[in-house]
């Protein structure tokens, strides 16, 4: 592998050899950099943009990451009650992230809240902040993303120390009251490097475990023992961000509903109402804002009170009000698309006589043995249709339908 570049850049020949010899003496990070020679994997395309040469390797890597995270059929906690704890101690004001940790965290949280309700429309979320060693609740558990974001944006000052114990105790006191079928979760975004507690924080961790509250922490600064212990004991995930982009990635990892433990929540039938949208032009008092509204709105089928938005709980009788699309939005977590397999380009694929030329989804040319198109070729194990890498990503991350399986009738069972 070293021969070709050495011949091409004769001047660097000596330097490379030296580096190779010195490899054993170098520190780990230097060595990785010298061996990797990542600049050689870049080529310029006809428009002058830099492109990674080894597209196939990159795509395989991406798929490996995705496959590792997507397990097989596991039960997931769809109805979640989550308290988001945001550390607003003085450590959050530090400027190692630009413009400051606080601003970066606030943006991540905003994206998280929107995405959370998009993917978990039947779930509830509340916000708790820690400032001056005291935990205080910003918003009640509720289903409206805009309300949370608005309150959070108005409460972004940081001061004093952080206290994990206070935050845990406060969230536990609220999460105790949620219905038994709900999955209780706490997610902590922690900037400080220590916790300043009034009592034994380990006692709080034990209490959380007893109450089946799953605690996850995203660290902004560095790994801390107490956070690690908390996540380990309660079955959550602990991760520490390396930079701004990584932080966002880590926070958004918590959007998908986590695998559910059988004992975490009792299966039960929840009574729900499916209200109809009111006709345009009717005038009614809405129960949520106590204002006269013209047109729109939904009527609770049990007590006939008017609410403005779904999903919500009826403000008069407490019935959970949803619409059928809200339920449908969660179904893809329960019926995932099978993971596609890679097809070797040279071998004839069994079952199909010849490899199809184009991707079944987007009609883009697929790589064939000896063709110019690079990349991986993937096959759905259920319908044997071939797809390109981009469609694979789109199908599994956003569409949640296999176009091949959907466009062939299955033999009826």
């Amino acid at each position: 592998m070293m021969e070709a570049p050495a011949a091409a850049y004769g001047v660097e020949d000596d330097g490379d050899m030296e580096a190779e010899e010195a490899g054993r003496d170098m520190e780990a990070w230097e060595r990785a950099y010298a061996d990797d020679r990542s600049w050689e994997a870049l080529v310029e395309d006809e428009t002058g943009l830099l492109q990674a040469q080894d597209k196939v390797q990159q795509q395989r890597q991406h798929r490996r990451r995705v496959q590792a995270s997507s397990g097989l059929h596991i039960q997931r906690g769809i109805i979640r009650y989550l308290y988001l704890i945001i550390d607003l101690s003085r450590a959050a004001a530090e400027m190692d992230f630009r413009p400051s940790r606080l601003a970066v965290v606030a943006n991540c949280v905003e994206a998280f809240i929107r995405e959370f309700f998009d993917q978990n429309p039947l779930s509830h979320l509340g916000i708790i902040t820690i400032r001056n060693g005291i935990a205080s609740r910003l918003t009640d558990l509720s289903g409206s993303p805009e309300a949370h974001i608005k309150v959070l944006r108005g409460n972004l000052e940081c001061a004093g120390d952080a206290s994990i114990q206070n935050a845990l105790d406060l969230s536990r006191s609220f999460l105790c009251q949620v219905p038994t079928y709900g999955h209780r979760e706490v997610m902590l975004i922690f900037s400080a490097l220590g916790t300043c507690d009034p009592g034994d924080v380990l006692e709080s961790v034990r209490n959380c475990k007893e109450e089946n509250i799953r605690c996850s922490v995203v660290g902004v600064a560095a790994e801390i023992y107490i956070c690690k212990l908390l996540c380990e004991k309660t079955g959550g995930i602990y991760s520490v961000a390396m930079n701004e982009a990584h932080l966002k990635e880590l926070v958004l990892e918590h959007v998908a509903p986590p695998p559910a433990l059988a004992e975490a929540a009792v299966a039960s039938l929840v009574k729900m109402g499916f209200p109809q949208r009111g006709a345009e032009g009717t005038i009614a008092l809405c129960a949520c804002h106590r204002e006269v509204k013209i047109g729109g709105g939904y009527t609770c089928p049990r007590c006939k009170a008017r609410v403005c938005e779904l999903p919500t709980e009826c403000f008069i009788c407490g019935l959970t009000l949803v619409s059928s699309p809200h339920l449908a939005r969660s179904y893809h977590h329960l019926f995932p698309v099978p993971v596609f397999e890679e097809v070797p380009l040279d071998a004839k694929f069994s079952g199909i006589q010849e490899l199809s030329k184009v991707c079944y989804g987007c009609q883009q040319l697929l790589p064939l043995a000896g063709s110019k198109v690079t990349g991986v070729r993937l096959v759905c194990p259920r319908c044997n249709k071939h797809f390109c890498f981009d469609c694979d990503v789109y199908i599994h991350e956003s569409l949640h339908n296999c176009p091949g399986c959907e466009s062939f009738c299955e033999p009826q069972t």
């Binding site: 039960q75 769809i78 039947l122 558990l141 009251q177 949620v178 219905p179 038994t180 079928y181 709900g182 929540a265 299966a267 039960s268 039938l269 929840v270 009574k271 729900m272 109402g273 499916f274 209200p275 109809q276 949208r277 006709a279 089928p301 049990r302 709980e313 403000f315 407490g318 019935l319 959970t320 619409s323 059928s324 699309p325 339920l327 449908a328 939005r329 969660s330 179904y331 893809h332 991707c359 079944y360 989804g361 987007c362 009609q363 981009d390 469609c391 789109y394 199908i395 956003s398 569409l399 949640h400 339908n401 296999c402 176009p403 959907e406 466009s407 062939f408 009738c409 033999p411 009826q412």
Partner: protein
């Protein structure tokens, strides 16, 4: 035109000019037309048709082909893709992008060289013939399995994959939209898949328009139009289909804002229960798999979870505090 000449002389680069023009043009569309060619539906329609106000498949195709040509003529940068939905398979019939990329490099206007066999209509009709003969082969191979609905979820998924491919290209890309011609009734088996496609379209900001050519409304496509911001229309006089298409569906997304288009009627968001397929106002939802039931059961028939009899879980545990103001 002066402005363009000035730009061209100052830029001197044809590619760059194209980019600039594209940036100025907010009305370049990619229209993906999904046509329901389910033979069961069209035969039934032909048998049932009584008056002169109904159209058969041939007339329907004439209207739609004229409409598709109109879309290609409205703006020379418009793209068109046609997907056929059958009862056994779905397939792309035509994509205007495929032929163009070859001839574009030479700078020759492709429309000049077009003879009778290379017009979009001819290609679409040829594609349709291939598709129908393939469907027929499926039918004889598998026998009639009593399935009469068309595979809307499959063609919507394919359309969205195609949109995704166009959106992956370099930034000045056309504004995509999907137009469904649907006649067959909704199939409840496809509910989840169709909803997945609708939500994905919503995230890509692709409106799903629909034009119903059958006698009944489609709850799926009504929801699709409502959620993605598209137009749902069932022409009251199908013999004038082309007029409806030109007036309602031909305008690009930018110009739509200035038009008075058919207002959405009430969309029924009520769910139907899994046990009797009845539409219900209030029901019970399994907390594990979100199946909907009209009565209280001891066990979920979908996921097998057994429900405890304790009634306290029906009442929401959270006590709502009355605020004082």
């Amino acid at each position: 035109m002066d402005i363009l000449n000035n730009i061209e002389s100052s830029v001197g680069n044809k590619h760059l000019l194209l980019y600039i023009m594209w940036d100025l043009a907010d009305d370049v569309s990619l229209v993906i037309v999904v046509v329901d060619v389910n033979p069961y539906f069209w035969v039934e329609k032909a048998n049932a048709s009584t008056g002169t106000s109904d159209i058969d498949f041939e007339q329907f195709l004439q209207h739609v082909l004229a409409f598709m040509n109109a879309i290609l003529l409205l703006n020379h940068m418009n793209y068109l893709a046609v997907i056929a939905t059958g009862s056994d398979s779905c397939s792309f019939l035509y994509e205007s992008l495929a032929g163009e990329s070859v001839s574009d490099g030479e700078g020759k206007p492709p429309s000049k060289r077009m003879n009778k066999h290379h017009t979009p209509s001819a290609k679409i009709v040829r594609g349709l013939k291939d598709f129908v003969s393939k469907e027929l082969a499926f039918k004889t191979e598998r026998k009639d399995n009593g399935k009469r609905y068309s595979l809307l979820s499959g063609s919507l998924s394919m359309a969205l994959c195609y949109v995704q491919r166009i959106l992956r290209q370099d930034p000045p890309h056309p504004h995509p939209r999907i137009l469904c011609f649907q006649g067959s009734p909704d199939a409840s088996q496809q509910y989840i898949a169709v909803m997945n496609a609708i939500f994905s379209a919503q995230r890509l900001m692709v409106p799903i328009d629909s034009c119903m050519v059958g006698s009944q409304h489609s709850a799926f496509l009504q929801q699709a139009a409502h959620i993605t911001g598209g137009i749902y229309m069932k022409p009251p006089h199908p013999e004038g289909l082309f007029e409806y298409l030109m007036m309602v569906f031909a305008t690009d997304l930018h110009s739509r804002r200035f038009l008075q288009l058919p207002r959405p009627t009430g969309v029924d968001f009520r769910a139907s229960c899994f046990c009797h397929k009845k539409t219900i106002d209030t029901g019970f939802v399994c907390s594990v798999c979100l199946s909907i039931f009209c009565k209280h059961h001891k066990e979920c028939s979908t996921c097998g979870a057994s429900f405890s009899q304790n009634k306290s879980s029906f009442v929401t545990g959270q006590k709502r505090k009355l605020s004082t103001n």
